[in-house]
Symmetry: C2
């Protein structure tokens, strides 16, 4: 590698030295975001937006397969509408942005820029749901929302972010609960099968659940540094919103009844999860399923007769089995290698004059750096196989990191010591009292990540108060 | 048709009786929109959002084919940023919504909810454009914008609407002008080849151009009632924004230079254009290319053994060549015919027990009501052919309507009389003075729609002042 080729890589702070700075370096240098003069808002540059588009395409397909339809609601919520559900407004009012002037005049009623759209969906349901025949409605919306966060960080916590919010309404509570679980499973499958990120499935405690929900289910992912990231949530509302918004339908027995609702969301913070799960000191590593470029063709000695032409032909050919691009810039091959490594392209295809003579090329994996000499006429089978292998290896490593960083505590002392010396999940039993949750936050700096669906029995008593334990809980520090 | 089947249709006001009410009836009854408690904002229901998604897919493909990349900018613009380009802020400031409070506090600087994003793109360009090697940047964004309109109407003029806004930046003015023209042609092709709506291509007058633009190009469509609709615009900015935002790059000769910019946009008002161009007294008629359902399968006598099964089989089979759906509800066939006519499904496929015996079905065109008996094994060729024929017939009718409603005026009296007695375009010569444009607005109630690229010479003098004429202009009343 020439001196100038190294510079690009050296500009990224090593993760062990300063994980936060490593993250910031990557989002800037891989050209994922640009900062704007609007506090806490980022520009999503073409490379990160293309990742988001690939994620959207997969998720949207999964939503439609499970019977959902897309709609679009207004971005403004009148204050009186936001206030209809008591818990909901309490949870969100402190962090909303208010429009108070429009068209040169002060408004009679403030409009909040949507932090989430339950209230708007409820208003709409009230208009369109009259009979059990109108149920269920299985809706989803792709949009941006605004939450006035105090401290922000690209992708992970921004004042405005892109997301999808599913909102469904059902005849019975059983159907609504089944929907809540179904969509949590869709999220889990998306994270594991497409992003190569293993997730824990579970339920949030009362303290951590969504404002207005009866129950919040979640998937939790663990980042490379051992911190947790809430990756997706699915809420069961019971008929609380229906009562607050007076949504009733004529039931099968001709009596008026209240319907049951759910909502579920996933956001651009998922891009942050990808960076912090798979990235390394050379930069990004993108899961093949969402990488804008899966294979980057790099001509070697491209000034020599026929090299560029053959490289273009190869790129064209493999375009049938993957998202391929070619780097024809006049940078040196070493510079190009470092740049596309940094941008996390899963596979690199090197093609020089001698390769062309022999009818072969070199494929280099971004994850293991393994090189393979592959005949050009085997690329259409070899590339999909390697992309699959890269996905599997990424998932294996992420799972290994999670296992290595998952600990057990049976006493408060153990938990406090683990929270001080290690970074990761701490499994410990809990009595179910919010007081103990708050005590653990204060004494050990950890929050409950979730009550996992797969319960274990570590011991009989709450790690905090010693009273009989009700659940195993994963505790940790979170983004 | 049974009595109850008729009711559905009779509920739509005939267009000749009250065109505005006809339009309102359709948007509600075809379940395109729902009104919300937010003034001037509509809910886009699944049916209209699916039309928008189909339009997005086609347009996004056309943008990517022409080398554009998608990005996402913040939805807020700090007041100081909006004010940097003088003409631009003058044009938009009166119709913006202001966020003045966030996170429970009054903001030090107001944030406007984007009415359009030129200023944000300029701020970003300043960060990322340093050398001619960084040019061009060909960006596009899909998002919603807010303009505080006084009177609103679903799709045509709403306070918030969905759109795409392309923003590009170039080394030379020639390149930027070519881009402005290229994207206008993309819009024209989209309208004519996919929406079956003929358009006029031309340039806006100084009075009608975009705030901050050197020149605004447009496509204009004519609605069924003879009123014009601005269907898409493409703006050339010269280097005005670059100067205002101090964007400079190092040129090929190593000197600092100002780049040249464009922007171009198309919105959900296009759905309004579809309704008002193709609809009739039975309801909507959707262009096959964007219809969420292209063929609706309607089982006749579906209670008879084997009918539903065969109808499902047919639907499955034709799914390979079109977007097909099946109506299995327990409404009568007559009710279903009326409902899917009203919703504008281009083709209806009727299948009853006798059809099944004979291995055939009945295809009914929504545009001409022509019925054809088609062998089931010919559907895969016959359906695409018919969808193509429907598109062509829709385009032909729309063009005929436009031709029938295009008039010529050589004197002011002629123009005033035409504006009073007819509804449509009036072609007339113009001297180029804004004073005459304003006089025509006052005296005849018409505005300049565009200076068409295809000029004609009707006479030598301005229709208003009698001075030498510079251009032929299309005048009319517009939505």
């Amino acid at each position: 590698m020439a001196q100038q080729d190294k510079k690009l890589v050296e500009a990224i702070t090593p993760m062990d030295e300063d994980f936060a700075q490593w993250y910031t370096d990557i989002v800037k240098k891989a050209e994922l975001i640009d900062y704007s003069s609007v506090r806490g808002c980022c520009v999503l540059r073409p490379y990160s937006y293309a990742i988001w588009e690939n994620m959207q395409k997969i998720l949207d397909g999964m939503f439609k397969e499970t019977g959902h339809q897309n709609v679009y609601m207004p971005m403004f919520i009148p204050e009186s509408l936001l206030q209809k559900e008591k818990d909901h407004v309490e949870g969100f009012a402190p962090e909303v942005a208010w429009v108070t002037e429009g068209g040169g005049k002060k408004l009679e009623e403030r409009l909040c820029v949507r932090p989430t759209s339950e209230t708007l969906f409820c208003e709409h349901y009230k208009n369109i749901v009259h009979s059990y025949r109108d149920l269920p409605k299985l809706y989803n919306q792709w949009c941006s929302v605004v939450r006035w966060e105090k401290t922000t960080r690209p992708f992970l916590r921004t004042m405005e972010f892109l997301w999808q919010e599913g909102h469904t309404i059902h005849e019975t509570s059983e159907e609504a609960v089944a929907e809540t679980e179904r969509m949590l499973n869709v999220y889990a499958r998306f994270y594991e099968e497409f992003l190569a990120i293993p997730v824990l499935k579970g339920r949030k405690t009362e303290k951590e659940k969504f404002a207005g929900a009866v129950a919040t289910y979640c998937i939790e992912a663990m980042m490379h540094d051992g911190k947790a990231l809430q990756a997706g949530t699915s809420h069961y509302f019971g008929d609380g919103f229906a009562h607050a918004f007076d949504i009733q339908f004529q039931g099968r027995d001709n009596t008026p009844q209240y319907p049951f609702q759910t909502s579920w969301g996933m956001t651009t913070r998922t891009i942050g999860a990808i960076i912090m799960t798979h990235g390394d000191d050379s930069g990004l590593l993108l899961p093949p399923a969402v990488a804008p470029v899966q294979v980057m063709v790099i001509p070697v000695a491209q000034h020599k007769a026929g090299v560029l032409e053959e490289a273009r032909r190869v790129r064209e050919k493999i375009g049938a089995v993957c998202r391929a691009d070619i780097d024809e810039s006049d940078n040196s091959p070493g510079w190009k290698f470092a740049e596309h490594e940094m941008r996390g392209v899963p596979l690199r295809l090197e093609l020089g004059p001698r390769d062309i003579e022999k009818g072969q090329c070199v494929l280099v994996r971004r994850d293991t750096r393994e090189k393979a000499i592959v005949p050009l006429d085997a690329l259409e089978t070899e590339i999909p196989r390697l992309l699959g292998a890269i996905h599997d290896e990424m998932f294996r490593r992420a799972k290994e990191n999670r296992e290595r960083r998952t600990f057990e505590a049976r006493t408060l002392e153990e938990l406090i010591r683990l929270a001080e010396t290690e970074s990761g999940y701490i499994k410990a039993m809990w009595c179910g009292d919010t007081a103990c949750e708050e005590a653990l936050k204060e004494k050990a700096g950890v929050t409950s990540r979730c009550i996992p669906f797969e319960q274990e029995h570590l011991c009989d008593t709450c790690v905090c108060c010693g009273k009989p334990a009700k659940h195993l809980v994963y505790w940790g520090k979170a983004y």
